[in-house]
Amino acid sequence: MTQDYQLDHLDELEAESMFVLREVAAQFERPAILFSGGKDSIVVTHLAAKAFAPARIPMPLVHIDTGHNFLETLEFRDALAERLGVQLVVGSVQATIDAGRVREETGAQASRNRLQTTTLLDTIEEGKYDACIGGARRDEEKARAKERFFSHRDDFGQWDPKHQRPELWNLFNGNHMPGEHFRVFPLNNWTELDIWNYITREKIALPSLYFAHDRKCVVRDGVILAHSEHLPHRDGETPEMMRVRFRTLGDLTITGAIASDADTLEKITAEVAATRITERGGRVDDKRSETSMEDRKKEGYF
């Protein structure tokens, strides 16, 4: 305990995020937490549990299942929702495809990453959610550096980066018309290293994929991808056993692993502190063009 009424930076970030989460519960009728199964959304869920203790988190976890998720992610998701007593809502990209709302991508770069946006917006509309809390951080990607805590979306779910509301002090303006919604980012001011330090400090459980393990992988354009039935092989590719871990968890088909021996939180934190490549450096989806994140965000992506 500090004697001079000073908080360390993790306590200050935690206090800010809890304030944002409570503000969402107070200002909106039907908020939800967008839960990807990745470490950032796990930290958001942990912060929400703290913000509303001893009550249950007063909003559901919404997961968009692409059908290409790691099995470990799905098991972890179900166990967490059960332990916290929170409602789990799952939107299925496969169902969106089957209903003919979107068409599956084909070709060598095919992924379901972009298709998720339609399922996400459908799920938001069905649930009538007026605020969707995400785990994105400003340090992740350049299009996110200008993101607000309360980010307005029009009634088509679109983001207009040039006409964002100025955000002053901690006065968040969530006022909106029917049909519009907000995306809310309580972790805006956290960096990847802050996240790992906080997970270590709070002893937050994570899916096993984040820790070094042996797995069959293929190396494609310098990116290590997990071998699976959803990843069609290209000519000359043969999966080999590698010791890897994941820095972010997206779809199987696009999430690059890194070669690593870090099998504890302490080792991972040390590795993150020393690394010279950003965590999204392994994301094939961000490499499509210089502004691919901005383009997806404008359409309503996470």
Binding site: M1, D4, Y5, L7, D8, H9, L10, D11, E12, E14, A15, M18, F19, R22, E23, A25, A26, K50, A51, F52, A53, P54, A55, R56, R138, D139, E141, K142, A143, R144, A145, K146, P161, K162, Q164, R165, P166, E167, L168, W169, N170, L171, N173, N175, M177, N188, N189, T191, L193, N197, R201, T275, R276, I277, T278, G281, E290, T291, E294, D295
Partner: protein, 419 residues
């Protein structure tokens, strides 16, 4: 609270345009503190080459929106992060040109410190006055004046001294207690992270060492106890049937278990029974902690109420004199009933009178032109539908600030300072 990671957080803002070397300075801080990643640098180098530039244009690091990259401008406040073993830093980087006032006010609203850049060849310019005045208006207590491009004046001490004394003259009109001067060359790195060998006459530390050491903890108001209730926690589960907790963030002062408190606006008295951070009970709470407080007596409070001490209460104001920084694309319309969002309350208001506008470059009052448009600073008198529990902004940045929302568009149209 963590014992392993005791470094604190410093939020600062930088203002300026492309020419005064602001991007170079930030790039230097990030690069020399090893906060730029290899793939980020590679992407910036590739884009710079595509644009025909010889050196990496570090502004491309955060000018990430398509329109910004195409037009070579910065549209909005960009937030950047770096850390040293001693401190974590959040930079609110605000563009110097279009919508400058609106963006700088936004960036400065959460900052503890502001960096002002002055080109050693040109001395104080209009923009220097504007940025310094905004920092003062926003209640920033620490200013760092970086006299940049010292390499272009042969690292000459007289050039530096002329600028610092001119700034001291000007700053007597500001309300900023701590002003620090540093001669630097952001381009060559002198006195940014590494001490300069070319300016032996300068005996102070580097910019980074100052940022690491500057003490901002005492800027927080620990005297006036203010706890605006944000959300009421009532689990209504079997284990916690009777639990009623008041969740919120301490705006100022220190609350301890056992303290006598008064709930406003009702005036009902009680004492603090428990304080929680998450599920953990603590003995006391101070700003900016987010806590949950339970009271000894069974009184019913709701969002917008405030816990304070009996002998130290905020003003209850319905006629409010305030400075406004106008941010809306449409100007102030006296016929509109703007919504005031103050702390955890929202209330309708009427702007009774525009008293004067402030010329942001000269600080002169203009009582003749009362048309308030985007980027204007004006003093107004407004009336709210019910009283606000407010303090003077100079004394309390949380209970002294508010925003105005246009009820027709829901847009945030002004920042307000109670004074």
């Amino acid at each position: 609270m963590s014992t392993t990671n005791q470094n604190s957080l410093l939020r600062f803002t930088t203002a300026g345009s492309v020419d005064d070397g602001k991007s170079t300075l930030i790039g230097r801080l990030l690069y020399d503190s090893k906060s730029i990643f290899e793939d980020q640098l590679e992407a910036v180098e590739n884009s710079s080459r595509k644009k025909g530039l010889e050196n990496a244009d570090l502004s491309l690091l955060t000018d990430g929106l398509r329109a910004e990259r195409e037009q070579g401008i910065t549209i909005d406040v960009a937030y950047r992060y770096f850390a040293t073993p001693r401190r974590k830093f959040i930079i609110a980087d605000t563009p110097g040109h279009v919508q400058y006032t609106r963006n700088m006010v936004t960036g400065a609203s959460t900052a503890d410190l502001a960096i002002i850049l002055i080109d050693a060849r040109h001395g104080l310019v209009e923009q220097t006055h504007r940025h310094s005045f905004i920092a003062s208006l926003l209640g920033i207590k620490h200013l760092v004046v970086c006299v940049n491009k010292m390499d272009l004046v042969d690292f000459n001490e007289d050039a530096y001294q002329t600028i610092t004394s001119a700034f001291r003259n000007f700053s007597s009109r500001l309300d900023i207690p701590d002003i620090k001067f540093i001669p630097i060359s952001a381009l060559l790195g002198d006195n940014v992270v590494e001490a300069s060998a070319k300016m032996p006459w300068y005996e102070g530390g580097t910019l980074l060492s100052h940022l690491e050491e500057v003490h901002v903890g005492s800027d927080r108001n620990l005297q006036d106890c203010r706890f605006p209730i944000q959300y009421v926690i009532r689990p209504q589960t079997d284990e916690a049937r009777d639990f009623r907790g008041y969740a919120g963030r301490i705006a100022s002062g220190v609350f301890k278990v056992g303290d006598e408190v008064v709930a406003l606006p009702s005036g009902m008295q009680s004492s603090v029974k428990e304080i929680f951070v998450g599920a953990d009970a603590v003995e006391r709470a101070f700003p900016p902690q987010s806590v949950t407080i339970t009271l000894e007596s069974d009184i019913d409070l709701s969002r917008g109420d405030m816990l304070v001490r009996e002998n130290n209460q905020p003003q209850s104001l319905q006629e409010i004199d305030a400075q406004l920084c106008w941010m809306g694309e449409e100007g102030l319309n006296p016929g509109v009933r703007y919504i005031v969002r103050h702390g955890t309350t929202e209330v309708k208001s009427m702007i009774r009178e525009v008293l004067y506008k402030v010329d942001i470059n000269t600080l002169h009052r203009n009582e003749d032109d009362k048309q308030v448009g985007m980027n204007d600073i004006a003093r107004v008198r407004l009336r709210t539908a019910s009283p606000l529990l407010a303090d003077d902004y100079r004394r309390n940045r949380t209970t002294g600030s508010f925003i105005l929302i246009d009820p027709g568009t829901n847009l945030t149209v002004a920042a307000g300072f109670v004074s």
